[in-house]
Structures are given as C-alpha cells and as structure tokens.
Subunit: 290 residues, 2 copies
Amino acid sequence: MRPGVGFTGGILDRADPLRGDPARLAEAFAHPQARGLLLEGLAPVIEGSRLATSPLPQDAQVEDYALLGMDATGPVFVSILKKELPHGAGLTPGVWDLQRTLEPEELAHYGGARSLVDWHARHAYCANCGNSTVAVRAGWSRKCGNCASEHFPRVDPVVIMLAEHEGKVLVGRQARFQPRQYSALAGFLEPGETIEEAVSRELWEEAGVRTTSVRYVMSQPWPFPSSLMMACIAPVESPELTLDTTELEDAMWVDRDAVRAGLAREEGAPFLAPMAVAIAHHLLRAWLEE
Amino acid sequence: MRPGVGFTGGILDRADPLRGDPARLAEAFAHPQARGLLLEGLAPVIEGSRLATSPLPQDAQVEDYALLGMDATGPVFVSILKKELPHGAGLTPGVWDLQRTLEPEELAHYGGARSLVDWHARHAYCANCGNSTVAVRAGWSRKCGNCASEHFPRVDPVVIMLAEHEGKVLVGRQARFQPRQYSALAGFLEPGETIEEAVSRELWEEAGVRTTSVRYVMSQPWPFPSSLMMACIAPVESPELTLDTTELEDAMWVDRDAVRAGLAREEGAPFLAPMAVAIAHHLLRAWLEE
C-alpha cells in the first residue's frame, strides 16, 4: 500500500466535552484502562509498530497530564510536567524512518502528542504578564494565576507550494538538505494573509515568480514543533527565477519525468524528492496525477 | 461590484528582506515619505475611504515600530509600543460596517496591522522563561533577553464549514448572535490535525454528523485577534443532528432558496446570513454557485 501523508489519519476521539468537565475528566483519569503515552524527551518509545504506553503511576496527578483522547481500550494521557528539552524546534533523529516503523494512526498520535508536550515545555509563563501559568482544560490550555489570560497551544500555518509553468514545477533546495534533495518551496503564513496570498508572497520573495492563481491541494500537521502545512499548486506568469539565496541554495524547473524519477529516488534522477512522510512528496505526486 | 471577502486583498509589499537588515530598515525609517498608521487602541482611524497615516514623529525610534510594508508612496510603519488594550479578543465596535467604508485593500492592511499590534501588546514576556522580550526583525518577532527564545506573531487556524446533505447545508447559531442570524459552524484546529480532520471533528462534536469527504473552498485572515479562517464544504452521511448546546443554541438544514434569501437578508428569509465582511457569507455563496 502506498504510504499516506505522515502524521495524518489519527483515530483517537479527542473527547472535547471531558476537557472542561472536571468530574468526567477525573473519571477518565481513574479509568482502570487509562494509559500514559511514553516519550523520551520528545522522541517516541516504540513497541513493534505501535507507541508504547503504560498504566498511570499510582501517585499520578491529573493536572500533570493532558488527555490526548479515547481509543477502543480507554483514555490515553501524556505527561506535561515541564522537562528540559533541547532548544529550538529540531526534528527528532530518525523521524524520516518513523513512517516505516509505526502504523499510520500511531504516527499521527505521536505527532499531536509531541506538539502538545513541546508547547507546554516552552510555555510555562504568561506572555502577557510574565507570571507562571498552570495547565487547565485537561492540558489543552494554560491559565495565568496573575492576569487570568488563557493561552492555547500554538499551531503555526505554513504554506508549501509548487509553482507551475508549461508542464514543469519549481523545486528548490536549502543548504541543509541532503545532496541532490529538492523540495517544494515553503514559508510561514503571516497575520493579515489568506493562504493564497501567502503562497503568492513566498513565491515572489523566494523565487521572483508571480502567481496567476493558487489552488489548495491538501494539508498536514508537522510536529516540529507545531506547524500546519497547507500544500498548494500555483501557475506563474514567467519561468524566470530570481532566487533569495539566503533561503535557497538552488531551484530548478522539473518536468513530469523528472518528478517521477525523483519520487522513486531513481539513481539517475535529476533530483531526489522528499520521503513520503513529508507532504511535499504527496504534493508532487498529486501534481503528477492531475 | 459585489464585495469580496473582508480583510483580504492587501497590496502592501511586506518587504521581508528589510526586516533582517538593520541598515536597510533604518533607511526606510528615515525615508521622507515614511508614515505611521494611526490606530485608536486597536480601532482604525479613517479618512474618507482610507486609513489615516501621519509622518513619523521627530523623536520616533525604529524599535518602537513594526514595518507593515511599502506602498507606492513609501514605507508604512505602525507603533508597537505596549499599550493597555481591553482584555480578550473582542471585535472592534463597527467592524461590520468597515467594509462599507474602507477600500478593500485598506481593510486588509488594517486587519494585518491590528493582529500584529495586538500580538505585541499581549506578548511582552517570554513564554519560555517569564523574562521580558524586545521586538526584533522590524516588529515581526520578539526576542527574550534572558533565554534567547524567539517568538513569532501567532496566527490561529480555524476551520469554518458547511455540512452538506441532499441539496441542503447546515447553519447554526450561537446565543450571542443577532436575532435570526445563522452562520457556518466553526472551531479552532488543534495540534496533530489536518484541515480536513478538524472539519470532521468539529462537525461531529458540535452537530453529531459524520463527514464523508471535505473540500477546501477559500481562506481569510480574521483579526480578532489573529485567526486564519479556512472555509470548507463537507458532505455528511445522515442529516440527523445531535447539537452541542454549550456551543450552539440552534442549527438547521437550509436549501438553496433559503440560502439565497438569507444572503440577501430578505424580510421573509428563514434566517439571516452573515454580512459580506465574513467568510461564511462567501462560503454560502460559493455553495449556491457550485
């Protein structure tokens, strides 16, 4: 079976009504089948093709856990006690292999849990007044004891897109990429923009091409630390490129044969496309199949 | 001309390369045509059909301003000095009338500036360590003097959607709505979800309907305080509703005639649709025109 978009297809019931109901939440926490998802820092702990869980410790306190949701067995929690995490939003080593190891829905559950745990670890204080905050709503927000501001987990929208011109699409590479690796261009959406406007701005800034339209294709949560990838295809007026070399080391137009070879990572391919865990892989494939 | 989606269609060049280049930024700040966008708190100051601006004060400091971008006249800044703002993310009074007053691109510029100013006002402290932060990158991020964390303006993705069944769509109302007003259902996307998964979850949670597919239609920045509205249409298996009455006071299936009358706000309409400033208006119209 062809692998799907990584980190998608979660099947946990997020059980939103329990979050705001302390009695029902306590009941779920005391459920005999309640489990805690195990993480090592932010990395997954894997048993076979599934994420490792364990019964909640005897002395566990509900306020130290987030309720990820309910599965067929029972409630699944994850510890949100502050821990020392590496600075920045780096990928977990081995993330590119996770899709080969984990069931798709397990990878999705890991991604959601990772983003939430990371957010708690980096948001113990109130951005509004600087005082400490406590987790509330079953770990789905934090509240300031001083100014009463409530803060919700961040999700940062990112546009990722293929410029398109006369049967070719534009792929680019950053200096940090593996040799021969190219991908779709991408960037954070900013306040005041639509998805379509952000796609046009990023293609202009990074590659100097002007879009004539933008079509949305698919989306993906990307938990490093918590992006929402929104993949689009955008025809452009002219193929002439002016690269922003602070962002891109190189960019090039590739035709269908090159994309096919790149996705298959063939030896003679003009470039190597990202692995199937990344939405860029599926965006290239969607373009091929249009 | 039919009004477009409110807060979209900005034409400022955001001038991203200047943000990270202190020399070029200082040059823009000293430009004889540099202007500051005027706000009263978070409300716009309007002259005719345009936003009021004024020359930058003699003693203005570049670090107290964000660079919104460049227009045909010159650079446009906005003050991000911390001010006391009303708590919460309320709408500015009169926001529903702004689209009748302002040129579309001016409404878009106001929305983006408002979100950014609001974010600075509520994010003076580091969420990671509680110390104070300073604006950097021309007002497009804040940096902690203590732990060096960099924080970027929030944009919170929201799904807004029409469930669809046998030629009808689902509209709902919250208790705070004007009498007879109904709109598309909506909710915040959470870490670990695709747009499509969030649409399905929200429709299940709020109305008890199960989607069979989800199609993206359009997006909008909604600056109260800084959402990205992503509008979708989703066919559902069965029209039977189980409402979450903590979210919705009522919901009902409406056919094309009802939607047409609701958009026109006809006297005998079964419901009143939102004004054209809101994306829900355009989502209903897009469904009609499919």
